[in-house]
């Protein structure tokens, strides 16, 4: 059974913007799912409706078997949220603000647990400092600490690494790794597609309030990912020889390379024939290179289409 089940969810803002349009999505227990899409695609709206920050017009959201509207106490207790923006009370101390969130989720103070979380996020030494005294990166860590303060079963990370340094990003992913190993389900939105590529089990692509597809990352890469063979020559090519026209080769901008796209899962890639035909021309080979299109390439292609 999925831990989150969204059916026919629609939400329009008062200015008429259709933020979510008949969205259907299921999130499996213990997986990391990345929500990708351009700005305004509806990623944050989707997360906000699940977490209770926004009302929705129609549809239904079930979390761990409970309706998020009628049984909000049960569902919200399971959820931790790291919003996109840094939103903290500036005059509160780090420890107190994390303790506040734990209290809000209906749990008594647990110094050991809270200090543990602060330690993992390198915040323990700053626990008595006021939020306003922290750097942007440290504030982002506090946001994460707050979301983890009640040990949620589902964690929503809404662009958690936007504008943070490499060290924090690495720490973040370590935390995500350790949460995943404990069975926490993670829903992630990010503009860093390489992050999604690295972390996510499944990818959901949103555009204009609709889910374009939801697919296992590996199968998506295999299905949509193209493999390319780049053949470098010693001298520039004025025009592609007639004998090579059947391969649909692309000529690089500097005219020193030919690029051949192929399906590496196919029984015959055509590479052997291509190399034989190149040998029959007067072109002199310099180098060969193969590459696979990234999730980013797929994402850009899908959005353009």
């Amino acid at each position: 059974m999925p831990i989150i089940s969204i059916s026919n969810l629609s939400k329009a803002y008062s200015d008429g913007t259709n933020a979510l349009d008949d969205v259907n999505l299921e999130v499996n227990k213990g997986e990391i799912i990345a929500l990708l899409g351009p700005n305004g695609a509806g990623k944050t709206t989707l997360i906000s409706t699940i977490c209770g920050l926004l009302t929705y017009d129609s549809g239904r959201i079930i979390v761990d078997g409970y309706d998020t509207v009628t049984e909000y106490r049960r569902t919200r207790k399971l959820i931790g949220l790291v919003p996109q923006e840094i939103m903290l009370e500036p005059f509160e101390t780090v420890y107190d603000t994390v303790r506040f969130t734990r209290g809000m989720f209906g749990y008594p103070e647990n110094k050991e647990l809270l200090n543990n979380i602060l330690q993992k996020l390198s915040l323990f030494d700053k626990r008595k400092q006021m939020i306003k005294e922290l750097s942007g990166g440290m504030k982002r860590r506090v946001m994460i600490a707050k979301a983890l303060s009640h040990s949620p079963k589902i964690l929503f990370l809404d662009e958690p690494t936007a504008g943070v340094d490499v060290e924090l990003r690495r720490d973040m992913w370590n935390v995500v790794d350790s949460l995943k190993s404990k069975g926490v389900t993670i829903v992630l939105t990010t503009h860093y597609i390489e992050e999604a590529e690295m972390m996510a089990d499944r990818i959901a692509l949103l555009n204009k309030g609709q889910i374009i597809f939801v697919e296992n990352k590996e199968s998506l890469m295999a299905r949509m990912g193209k493999k390319e063979l780049t053949i470098n020559f010693q001298s520039p090519i004025s025009s592609i020889p007639e004998v090579l026209s059947k391969y649909k080769l692309a000529l690089s901008q500097d005219r020193f390379s030919l690029i051949y796209s192929y399906d590496n899962k196919a029984s015959r890639t055509g590479i052997t024939r291509l190399m034989r035909d190149i040998a029959s021309t007067n072109l002199i080979l310099q180098d060969l290179k193969t590459s696979q299109s990234s999730l980013e390439d797929i994402f850009v292609r899908m959005i353009r289409n």
């Binding site: 106490r73 919200r76 009370e89 500036p90 303790r99 506040f100 209290g103 809000m104 008594p108 707050k146």
Partner: protein, 253 residues
């Protein structure tokens, strides 16, 4: 009921009070003492007594109500507006907490602050004039009711406000005139008959009247009318807040 959440909000709000002790407690006390000096000592010297009560003592309930009403509205409106302004309201909306629990936390903290300030003003006043409270239990009860009721009003103002300017608009343009024209510093019978009739439409007059009754056993209007007015006001505020949380108006849209 999510008692830990209520405690978290209450503790958080009270911590703000102690962090800003000067603004929260000392400044209203100073301004009330100034009122007391101006109205009690300067103007009061020409009035002597009202309904057999020394004028300096007569204005004490009005002074306390003026501060309680202003402080309750200010504390509660700021308490809920600040998370909205900072964006930290997301925690309230995403936590397993009902509208009632949020209200108990914020209104409870705002009312506590107002109550403490009222007691401080009462003690300060007793340094200027001797005070014999006729109905001390009712006095405390009415004080609590008014602290809570106007904190509810402040909570509504805080949710509906879109800026700090709007936050101050209602206290400045509505609450202050109503308190001043509600018999804080005079008895209703001192007004011309037309203005006496107009004042009967001022809900704050009923609150001040019954509060003065608790002090001196004299009231401008029947005590029952005052209790009824207070009850209607509380129910109205609670209903509006319930509707706001039910619909998410100004919170979830």
């Amino acid at each position: 009921m999510n008692l830990y959440a209520i405690a978290a909000i209450y503790r958080f709000e009270m911590a703000r009070t102690f962090r800003t002790l000067v603004q929260s407690i000392i400044s209203p006390v100073i301004s009330t003492v100034l009122y007391f000096i101006v109205f009690g000592a300067a103007i009061g010297s020409g009035i002597q007594t009202i309904e057999g009560i020394h004028y300096s003592a007569f204005i004490v309930p009005g002074l306390i109500m003026l501060t309680v009403l202003m402080q309750s509205v200010a504390n509660a409106s700021f308490g809920i507006y600040f998370p909205k302004f900072l964006g930290t309201i997301y925690e309230h909306l995403s936590a397993p907490i009902s509208f009632l629990e949020i209200i108990i936390g914020y209104v409870g903290a705002a009312a506590t602050k107002s109550f403490i300030i009222a007691l401080i003003i009462l003690m300060t006043s007793s340094l200027f004039v001797p005070l014999n409270i006729s109905h001390p239990v009712w006095m405390i009860a009415l004080l609590v009711i008014n602290c809570v009721t106007f904190s509810l009003l402040g909570f509504i103002i805080g949710i509906l406000s879109n800026s700090f300017e709007q936050l101050n608009l209602v206290p400045m343009l509505i609450i202050t005139p109503l308190v001043f024209l509600g018999g804080s510093f005079y008895a209703l019978e001192m007004l011309p008959s037309f203005w006496q009739t107009v004042t009967l439409f001022n809900p704050v007059m009923y609150l001040i009247s019954v509060f003065r009754w608790a002090f001196f056993d004299v009231a401008d209007v029947p005590v029952f009318h005052s209790f009824l007015a207070t009850l209607i006001f509380s129910i109205t505020c609670t209903t509006i807040i319930y509707w706001i949380f039910k619909t998410g108006y100004k919170l979830k849209n």
